[in-house]
Amino acid sequence: MADGGESNKTEVTSYCYQCVAGPDLLKVDIQDGVPVRVRPNDEAAVIHPAGGKVCVKAFGLIQKTNNPHRIRTPMIRTNPKKGRDEDPGFREATWDEALDMIAGKLRSIRERGLLDESGFPRVAASFGGGGTPTSYMGTFPAFLGAWGPVDMSFGSGQGVKCTHSEHLYGELWHRAFTVSPDTPMVELVVAFGANTEASGGVCGVRRHADARARGAKRIMVEPHLSITGACSAEWVPIRPKTDPAFMFAMIHVMLHEEPRERLDIPFLRDRTSSPYLIAPNGFYLRDPATNKPLIWDQTSASAVPFDTPGTDPALEGTFTVSGLEVGADDESWDHKDIECRPAFGHLVEHVAPYSPDWAAEICDVKADTIRSVATQFLDHAHIGETVEVNGHILPYRPVSVSLGKTVNNGWGGYECVWARTLLACLVGGLEVPGGTLGTTVRLNRPADNRWTSVVPGPDGFMNYPMNPTRKGEWMDTSSSRHAHRTLVPLAANSPWSQALGPTHLAWMMQKEGLEHLPTPTPPEVWFVYRTNPVISFWDVKSVAEAVARFPFTVCFALTHDETNHMADVLLPECTDLEGTQLIRIGGSKYIEQFWDYQGFALRDPASAPQGEARDFSWISTELAQRSGILEAYNSSINKGAAGVRLFGDGYDFSLKPDEPHSVEDIWENVCRAASAEITDGAESQGLDYFREHGFRVKEFPRERWYLYPAMVDMNLRFELPYQERLLRIGKELGARLHEKGIRWWDRQLEEYEALPPWRDFPGMWESALENAFDVKIGDYPFWVVTSRSMQYSWGGNAGLQMIHEVASNITTHGGVVMNAGRAAEMGLSEGDRVRISSPNGSTEGALILKHGIRPDTLLMVGQFAHWTTPFARDLDTPSMNALTPMLLELTDATGSGADLTRVKIERIGGGK
């Protein structure tokens, strides 16, 4: 085993956190020192939301570990030229040579300063998989923390491959970095492209299977019949990117076609901004004395501050009132006896035009279908009912709307998230049992606790750590190459914020800078781990060209791949089944990870390192020592950079800061601190305990799945429906940018609407493509979309034969999926070799015909088109990442795009 462990084990406990829907707790069977089989850790059955089961991707770890194509020694590039067509000429090197080479660069940077002439960090790092690599990189976060500023803005897919709008607006509105139905109680889910059965991991699959078994209903609204669509009661094929219109029409039905008593009026009145009076310039009318927003109290027939006790706030009506209106940059208006309406009244008026008949034409869905979905939503809402959760009497609202990728990022993403969250509010179903829940926080602090992240902010809402927009506070540089603090107030400034900025701007600016931003520079040292942006980002050709210009790239490498093809040094790290690490589990996490327990799980090596592979923590320690930051590195570990703070009340397992520690010693101390933390200092077992048990947990009270009790405790409101704060920061941001002369972000500023209107979102793609490429959009008659794959997503496993083999049983893998009827009209047959071209690029592959896809839409599942990764390069599978352009015009205000574009299809050969 790694680090001198035993070699006669027959099984070890471990985890799989290859995707954001993990971790799954597992056991690995070992035969003659070789890991041969992954299986569920049945001892975790009682504590795990999916009975301790393990996702299909985890079974790939055996082939991953024993892979014949692994990089087995450090390697150093000999060909100074970089590019797809350049042979890197990697030669084998010793660890000493490779580490000294990297440390030399790092020491040189420390001597010259951590920031370059543009103010950007000279060191950059990119990690894939929505943050999951931290579960495999041991103490590397401590190295990064000790180092100082590191640029994480070179994205590997975030922004276009994630639910980006949900991440930002979700955190703003209900501490919901990701959003989930309360699946164990829900009766009706309306899912807009949320492919939970493919991307929700074992917890998502199990919870929804249980829901179906008890008769819950899911209506799937999406252009193609996905895995999740297959598992739904109904499929509604909607035109791509028109989802906001569908949801707006649902809101219209609820506000204009159904009686008010079908809504949860008390929730709207007490837990939302619905009663706040809106002044003529669109901002709240405020009490001049306290600056608090005013409501109209029907009892006293007067306008009073929103938090006045004993009031009966009006939601609708027009009232003659006086007060103060405060706009952007403290601009204010003193209003006397003006006519004002509450926010809810404005909402009612706002959605008046958005009838189902209006939406039907936009969405290509019958008006009756939309109307039926809306009324079913009300039918299942159980307005007025309650349920007990651990002694808490909470509202019971078993209806939810979930949003998928592409629906939920890029233009239209804001509107979808707003409408979805508003639909929950209308029935009082936000953050209550059965309803729509956030899962975790990443931008607010503390990251491991949604309840304690609920901090009172202005106007009766939760606080939110916006990047400043006020004059004198706004930051015209961001210490990141994508300007996330400059351009995206909602991106905040947590350790996750860089990854949630407009990551494609970092890549775009490597080609051409944006006016009035610092001159873009490549990073002097770029670390890459568990990501392959040359395959996984959009417009992969441009990304590859940028990567080729980076002067010094260090890739932690499993096998050769398209990104490390451009690397200067390859480092073989102990991969999933060879390294040691302790991670946090449980609580409520991404996607559908809602546990009744929380604690820690150990990744215990199932195999000796292959070749010269080294544990990531060993590599991190060596790099820290050789680059002269060992003390800061050890201190960073002590402060919790390895996942657990090593000291607390009554215990201290801190590492001596001034000396290097072995991997075993580091994790021994981490395990002891974890034991102490979980037992409030009563116990302090180390690695041996975790090796024997695999995990250690304590209860996580179920009421903490719901934010509602915390909101009630602090008498806070959800900031819906009216977005006064966004309106203000949008105006402020615009002013700041304009003061600096920046006009290229004006379109994004339009998203800062108090009540978002429908825009022609599909048309925005069409016109952006026409403008950027001088094409006629009519020549590109199809939309192309993508879909996640349970077998592949986030796994970085396209090079594994077993994964390919089992994934092939799902027939939409391995080609481009097209409507059978449309294909027949065009004379195309199953298996034909086709070229799919967008204005930006083309990709080729086999044609797969299905009835379950719109005639105007093509589908490419997963991310392929590898050209050097062993095995994957022979799969001959098309990828839409060659087709989607990175365009400022297709970047929304949060800095994300959406994974779709317009294409044409042509036959280039017969079937095999």
Binding site: V34, A45, G60, P68, L225, A233, P237, E805, E830
Partner: protein, 528 residues
């Protein structure tokens, strides 16, 4: 008694293939071999489309066709219902693979090497090498070792993970449930009693023991799957061309049928005229050549004697048993009638061998009929068709032999004509039955294609030529050659090109949650 059964809840299954992967890893199966897998079905036309995921594998049938056909007794059914394979006995003839209507059986002739011959063998492939499994039949064992070991340790299969098949143990949707269907209180019995279930291809009488659970609310009893003749997008579930038996197996039916037919007519003719010893020798050689070809095809050729182990049920054993006296008595007849000094036995000498030739021929017909996995083989009317074409081909060859020997008799022409006519009737009856009952679309296309088939014009020409032989000497031999050519072409097509397997079908597209079920589909099947 115990009857281990899997219930697969189609409302729960999401097609994730975790069971597929867990099975592969637990059983160290070869690349491409999936004892358990989950199918991806689509039904309907846009926009009214359904998609369902259906776990399949060995059904551990109540009446396993694989067991009946196995000539070596390698396949057995345990008292608890598990169908097992003894790798040390199996000869690798793959008869079980074509007999299984669930495509559950595999034969792999090379060691596991997932990344191909050009890559290094992986460590787990080395330590989990299973040479005893090479070139013999393999399939799902229901993880019988886990069950037995679990039971021995007081565990309950289906409840305790360590006594439960890996697919069920790993199922993330709790869609797969394992238990004892003979115990009325078991988990599976309860599910079966309280829900609508179906078995796949139940009409074949196999009694499959994977029961598919679906909501039957609003779904009429006795619904049958809709045949989808042109299964666009359904290649993975539609009938596929079987690759287990190729030209080598076909040769046995080609030469075995014609050879036994030839010997039969040589022997019958011997009652009226001298036994044509060289025709008899040719007939023996033909059957021998056919069997040699089959021997070339089996995975473990040096275990060929195991073919005799299952006379009670296997028509392949019976074919082999008939071959022995056929060769012995036939050789004796040839020896006795050869123009050697002191020999010259009477014509009757061929009759005992001819009796075994007919048994051999009949066994061949029954071999195909017992192959339940191939719809165009298992059809009832295949038996008279295979027998009549064997006899017709034999008669055709005999007509040529008679011409060479200089004998001509009107009975040869008349018999030739009659047999060709009978064969055509048998073909028409067979083809009509396929049309009525339905068959894989591709099988029918292949059977009907080509100039050398058994359809009316060609066969009428043979009859006409044979009758013309009454007045024109030698023309009967021409008819005979044509009869042989069409018969051989038919059988070669039947065994190879037209041999599409059963494919998969489901009785109902399951309701999902509060949704409704819909009629199932049988992709790639047609009635025509």
């Amino acid at each position: 008694m115990t009857k281990w059964t899997i219930v697969a809840d189609l409302n729960r299954c999401v097609g994730c293939q975790t069971c597929t992967a867990a099975c592969k890893q637990t059983n160290a199966t070869a690349p491409g071999v999936q004892w358990r897998k989950v199918l991806d079905f689509e039904a309907g036309e846009y926009p009214d489309v359904r998609r369902a995921f259906v776990p399949v594998g060995c059904m551990h049938c109540d009446e396993p066709p694989c067991l009946d056909v196995c000539p070596s007794t390698a396949t057995l059914k345990r008292a608890d219902g598990i169908v097992t394979i003894d790798y040390d006995i199996c000869i690798g003839c793959a008869y079980c693979a074509v007999a299984c209507p669930y495509q559950a059986r595999f034969r792999v002739d090379t060691p596991n090497q997932a990344f191909g011959k050009d890559s290094q063998k992986m460590r787990h492939e080395i330590v989990r090498e299973r040479p005893e499994r090479r070139s013999v039949a393999q399939k799902c064992t229901l993880c019988v070792d886990k069950i037995d070991e679990g039971l021995a340790n007081g565990l309950i299969p289906g409840i305790d993970a360590n006594a439960t098949p890996a697919c069920v143990e790993s199922c993330i949707a709790a869609a797969l449930v394992f238990g004892d269907a003979d115990d009325p209180d078991s988990n599976v019995s309860t599910l079966i009693a309280e829900n609508r279930t179906f078995g796949m291809h139940e009409e074949l009488g196999t009694g499959p023991n994977i029961r598919y659970l679906y909501s039957g609310k609003d779904f009429p009893e006795g619904s049958t799957a809709t045949l989808v003749p042109n299964p666009i997008g359904q290649a993975s579930v539609a009938p596929r061309h079987q690759h287990q038996w190729d030209w080598r197996a076909a040769s046995n039916f080609v030469f075995g049928g014609a050879g036994t037919g030839l010997f039969t007519f040589a022997a019958v003719a011997g009652l009226f005229s001298p036994f044509l010893w060289w025709a008899g020798l040719l007939a023996l050689a033909m059957v021998g050549l056919g069997l040699f070809c089959v021997w070339l095809e089996i995975g473990r050729p040096w275990r060929f004697l195991n073919v005799f182990r299952h006379p009670a049920r296997s028509w392949m054993t019976r074919e082999a048993l008939a071959a022995m006296p056929y060769f012995g008595l036939g050789a004796l007849a040839v020896l006795l009638t050869m123009p050697w000094p002191g020999f010259g036995a009477g014509g009757w000498v061929g009759l005992p061998a001819a009796a075994f030739a007919l048994m051999f021929l009949y066994s061949q017909a029954r071999i195909l009929k017992a192959a339940k996995g191939i719809p165009v083989w298992r059809q009832e009317q295949i038996v008279p068709l295979i027998v009549t074409t064997g006899l017709t081909e034999g008669m055709g060859l005999f007509a040529v032999a008679a011409l060479i020997a200089g004998t001509s008799a009107s009975w040869i022409s008349l018999t030739m004509a009659a047999l060709a006519g009978l064969r055509w009737l048998a073909w028409r009856s067979y083809r009509g039955a396929l049309a009525a009952e339905g068959a894989p679309t591709q099988s029918l296309i292949k059977l009907d294609a080509g100039p050398l088939n058994l359809s009316a014009p060609g066969q009428a020409a043979i009859v006409a030529l044979a009758l013309a032989g009454l007045v024109l000497p030698g023309v009967t031999a021409l008819a005979g050659l044509l009869a042989v050519a069409t018969g051989w072409a038919f059988k070669f097509t039947l065994i190879t090109r037209a041999a599409y397997n059963q494919g998969y079908a489901i009785e109902a597209m399951p309701a999902r949650g509060a949704g409704k079920p819909a009629p199932g589909v049988k992709p790639g099947w047609t009635r025509a």
